[in-house]
C-alpha cells in the first residue's frame, strides 16, 4: 500500500476536477464524489499505517519514493513522498477529520447556492494538505504550502459578496505571503549552502555542519513560515478574521489541519531548528507568548467562533512552545489531540449557528434543553481542552507542560515560560467554560427556537467526541509503545510522569472551570463588575491589543508611502528612459535627413568616393590590405 501513497492526495484532486467540470450541477453527486475521494484516501492511509506498524517503520528507517522533476547540472529537483511515523499520523488525522467534516458539511451547507463549489474547494484543499504532508523536500512542500494558502483564501471568501469575507480572505493571504517570503528565503539559503532540498539529505548535511551562525539564520527564516501559517504573534491577525468562512471550513482548515501545517513543518525540519540554541529560544518564546496573548484576548470575546479562533491560536502557541523546548513528540501529540477536540468544538458551534443563525454568546442561553447531543459533545470538548483527565487534552497538555518545566530556558533565572504556560492553562479552562455556560446553560436570551441538528451533523460530533476522549491514550505514560516511541527526535523515549506538573495543571483546569461556574452560573461575582473594575484592561483586550489598528497605520504610512516612491520612480525614471531613447532617435533623424538631397548625381559621387576609399584601405598594408 505504501507505493500507492501518491494516490492519497491525487484522489481528492481528481474529485476537484470532476466536481468543477462535470458534476457541478448535481449537488448530491458533488458531495458524494468528494466524500468518496476522501474516504478512499482514508482507507489508503489506514493501509499505510498498518503496513508501517507491521514493517517496523521508524523515524530512522523510512520509506521514500521520488521521481525527478527538473535535472540540471547543479540543480536536482524531485517530486517525492517520504513515509515515516510522523507522516502516517498526519495522514490519519487529516483524512479522518476531513472525512467527518465532509459528511457534516452535507447537512450544514444544505441550503447554500454554492454547494458544489464548496465541495470542489474542499477537495482541492485536501489535495493540497495531503500533498504537503507526504512531501519529501522543502521545495515541493513550499508549493503545497502555497496551495493550502490559496484554498484557505477561496474558502474564507466563500461568501464573496460579503465585504467582510472578501477583506478577511485578502488579509489571510497577504499575511501568509509575508511569512512565506521569509520561508522561501530560508529554503533558498539552505539550498545555496548545502545544494539540496531533500529533508533526508539536508539532515545529514546539517548534522555535519558546524556553522551555528548560518544554521541559526536559516532556522529563523524557515520558522517564519510557521509563524504565518500557524498564527504565531505577530502574524496571528488573519486567523480570527478567517472565521468569516463557513463553520466546517473553520473546523477543518483553521483548527485541525492547515494551521497545524506550520507545526508539522517544525517537526519535519526539526534537525535544522534543534541545531541552534538561539533558534530554539526564539521558537519557544514566540510559542509561549502567543499562547498567553491569545488566551487573554479570548477572555472578553462575544462571538463563539472568535473565542474558538483565539483558542486555536493559543493551543498552536502551546505546540510551538513544545517544539521550542526540545520536545517534538509533545508538540505533535498535542497537534493530534487538538485536531480532534477543536474540530469537535467548531462543529458544535456550527450546529448552534445552524439552529439559531446567531454567533453572539450573549444572545444565546439554555440550549442544553433542546440540543442535547451538541451540548454533551461540546462539554466533552471543553473538558478535553481544559486538560481534565482522562480526556485527551490532559495527556498531551501535560506532556508539553512537563517538557517546559524541565527544559524551559531560564530567563532572568526563572522558568518564565512554564509560568506563562500554566497561566494559559488556567485561562483556557476559564474562557472555554465561560463560553459553554453562557451559550448552553442558564436562561434563554434568544428569540429563536433551537432544534437539534440532523443526524448527518450530529454523527460526526459523536465520533469526534469519542476520539477527544480516547486519543490521549496513544501517548499516555502507562502505554508501552505509545506515541513517543514512534514519533520522536533523537531517540524513542518513554514519557515520565512529573507529579508536580500534573497536579498543578489539573488543579488549574478545575480552578478555571469552577471560577467560570461561579461567575456565569451562580453569578456570585457579576461579570460586569469585573469589567467595570478594570476598564482600561478590558478595552485593550476587547480591541485585541490594538494590533490590527497598528498594522493598518503601518500599512497607510509606511507601505503606501514606499509604494508611492516606487510609482514615482517608475513613471519618471523608467518611463523617462524609454521616452529619452525615442526622443533621441527622432532628433537624430531630424538632423540626418538632410543627407537625402534627392540629386541623383550627388548619390553617384558618394558611391564613387566610397569605392576610392575602399581601394585605398585594401591597398594599405598597415590595415591588413594587399601588399
Amino acid at each position: 500500500m505504501m507505493d500507492k501513497v501518491w494516490l492519497v492526495p491525487f484522489l481528492p484532486l481528481a474529485a476537484f476536477v470532476l466536481i468543477s467540470f462535470v458534476v457541478k450541477r448535481h449537488k448530491m453527486a458533488s458531495a458524494l464524489t468528494a466524500i468518496a475521494a476522501i474516504g478512499a484516501s482514508f482507507v489508503i492511509s489506514v493501509g499505510i499505517a498498518r503496513e508501517a506498524l507491521a514493517g517496523g517503520l521508524t523515524m530512522e528507517k523510512t520509506v521514500e519514493l521520488g521521481v525527478q522533476w527538473i535535472g540540471l547540472p547543479g540543480v536536482f529537483i524531485e517530486m517525492g513522498a517520504l513515509i515515516d511515523p510522523l507522516t502516517v499520523i498526519m495522514l490519519l488525522v487529516v483524512t479522518f477529520i476531513s472525512l467527518l467534516i465532509f459528511i457534516y458539511s452535507v447537512g450544514y451547507m444544505h441550503d447554500d447556492p454554492g454547494f458544489s463549489r464548496y465541495f470542489s474547494y474542499l477537495a482541492f484543499f485536501t489535495f493540497s494538505m495531503l500533498g504537503l504532508v507526504i512531501s519529501n523536500n522543502y521545495l515541493q512542500m513550499y508549493v503545497f504550502w502555497e496551495l493550502v494558502g490559496l484554498s484557505s483564501y477561496l474558502l474564507i471568501g466563500f461568501w464573496y459578496h460579503k465585504n467582510s469575507a472578501a477583506d478577511a480572505n485578502k488579509k489571510a493571504f497577504i499575511t501568509n505571503r509575508v511569512a512565506d517570503f521569509g520561508f522561501l528565503l530560508g529554503i533558498l539559503v539552505l539550498f545555496g549552502y548545502f545544494g539540496t532540498f531533500n529533508f533526508g539529505e539536508l539532515a545529514a548535511c546539517i548534522r555535519g555542519c558546524a556553522e551555528t551562525g548560518f544554521l541559526t539564520l536559516a532556522g529563523i527564516l524557515v520558522f517564519l513560515g510557521p509563524v504565518g501559517k500557524s498564527g504565531q504573534f505577530p502574524l496571528h491577525v488573519w486567523l480570527p478574521d478567517a472565521m468569516e468562512g463557513p463553520t466546517p471550513v473553520s473546523a477543518l482548515i483553521h483548527a485541525a489541519t492547515m494551521v497545524a501545517a506550520g507545526v508539522y513543518l517544525l517537526a519535519r525540519g526539526y534537525i535544522l531548528f534543534a541545531s541552534s540554541a538561539t533558534t530554539m529560544l526564539v521558537i519557544a518564546v514566540t510559542g509561549g507568548f502567543t499562547a498567553l496573548f491569545a488566551a487573554s484576548i479570548a477572555l472578553v470575546q462575544r462571538d463563539m467562533k472568535r473565542i474558538l479562533a483565539y483558542s486555536t491560536l493559543s493551543q498552536l502557541g502551546y505546540m510551538v512552545l513544545a517544539m521550542g523546548v526540545g520536545s517534538m513528540t509533545a508538540g505533535m501529540f498535542h497537534l493530534t489531540t487538538h485536531a480532534f477536540f477543536k474540530a469537535l468544538m467548531f462543529l458544535c458551534a456550527g450546529s448552534v449557528i445552524h439552529a439559531l443563525h446567531e454567533q453572539d454568546i450573549m444572545k444565546m442561553g439554555g440550549l442544553s434543553r433542546e440540543m442535547k447531543t451538541t451540548t454533551a459533545t461540546m462539554v466533552i470538548g471543553g473538558l478535553a481542552i481544559a486538560g481534565i483527565p482522562p480526556l485527551a487534552g490532559f495527556w498531551s497538555k501535560d506532556e508539553i507542560l512537563s517538557a517546559v518545566y524541565e527544559n524551559g530556558p531560564g530567563i532572568f533565572g526563572y522558568n518564565v515560560l512554564y509560568v506563562m504556560a500554566a497561566l494559559t492553562a488556567f485561562l483556557t479552562a476559564f474562557y472555554m467554560f465561560r463560553m459553554i455556560f453562557l451559550a448552553f446553560f442558564g436562561e434563554k436570551r434568544s428569540e429563536h427556537h433551537p432544534h437539534e441538528s440532523p443526524p448527518v451533523m450530529t454523527m460526526p460530533l459523536v465520533v469526534l467526541a469519542f476520539f477527544a476522549v480516547t486519543s490521549g491514550l496513544l501517548g499516555a505514560p502507562f502505554v508501552e509503545h505509545g506515541f513517543s516511541s514512534m514519533v520522536y527526535f533523537g531517540e524513542p523515549h518513554h514519557p515520565e510522569t512529573n507529579w508536580t506538573v500534573m497536579w498543578t495543571s489539573v488543579l488549574l483546569g478545575i480552578g478555571g472551570i469552577v471560577l467560570a461556574w461561579l461567575i456565569y452560573i451562580r453569578k456570585a461575582i457579576p461579570a460586569e463588575s469585573i469589567a467595570r473594575a478594570f476598564p482600561r484592561i478590558y478595552k485593550v483586550l476587547e480591541n485585541k491589543y490594538y494590533i490590527d489598528d497598528l498594522y493598518l497605520w503601518l500599512f497607510d504610512h509606511v507601505v503606501l508611502r514606499v509604494a508611492a516612491a516606487f510609482n514615482w520612480s517608475d513613471r519618471n525614471l523608467v518611463d523617462g528612459t524609454a521616452h529619452a531613447i525615442a526622443d533621441g532617435t527622432r532628433g537624430l533623424g531630424r538632423v540626418l535627413r538632410y543627407l537625402q538631397t534627392g540629386n541623383l548625381q550627388v548619390y553617384a559621387l558618394v558611391i564613387f568616393a566610397a569605392v576610392v576609399f575602399i581601394a585605398l584601405f585594401a591597398a594599405a598594408p598597415v590595415i591588413g590590405g594587399v601588399r
Binding site: R593, L595, Q596, G598, N599
Partner: protein, 102 residues
C-alpha cells in the same frame, strides 16, 4: 612597342572621362551616353588583358560581348524610363528630378 600599359591607360582615361560626365551632366540622356562610354572603356580593358596575358584564350572577348549585350538592354530600359519621366514632368534635367529629397 605597344604593350598592355598603353591599353590600360587608354581604358582608364576613357573611364574617368565617362565618370566625370556621369557625375556632372545635367541632361539625363547625356548621363546615359557617359555610362556607355564607361562600359566601352571596360571592354577595352578586358580585351587588352586577354590579348597580352593569355594570348590563346578568348575569355576576355567573350566577357566583352556579354558587357555589350547587357549595356544594350540596360540602355533600352533607361531610355524608356527617361521618356516616361519626360511625359510626366516635361523635363529631363537631373537637378529637377529630386522627389526623394527630404
Amino acid at each position: 612597342m605597344i604593350n598592355i600599359n598603353h591599353y590600360l591607360l587608354l581604358s582608364a582615361l576613357l573611364f574617368s572621362i565617362g565618370l566625370f560626365g556621369a557625375l556632372s551632366k545635367k541632361n539625363a540622356v547625356a548621363i546615359l551616353l557617359c555610362i556607355e562610354l564607361m562600359l566601352n572603356a571596360i571592354n577595352i580593358n578586358l580585351v587588352a588583358f586577354t590579348r597580352y596575358l593569355q594570348p590563346g584564350d578568348i575569355t576576355g572577348q567573350v566577357f566583352a560581348v556579354f558587357v555589350i549585350v547587357v549595356a544594350a538592354a540596360e540602355i533600352a530600359l533607361a531610355l524608356a524610363i527617361v521618356i516616361a519621366v519626360y511625359r510626366r514632368r516635361e523635363t529631363i534635367a537631373i537637378e529637377n528630378l529630386d522627389w526623394l529629397k527630404w
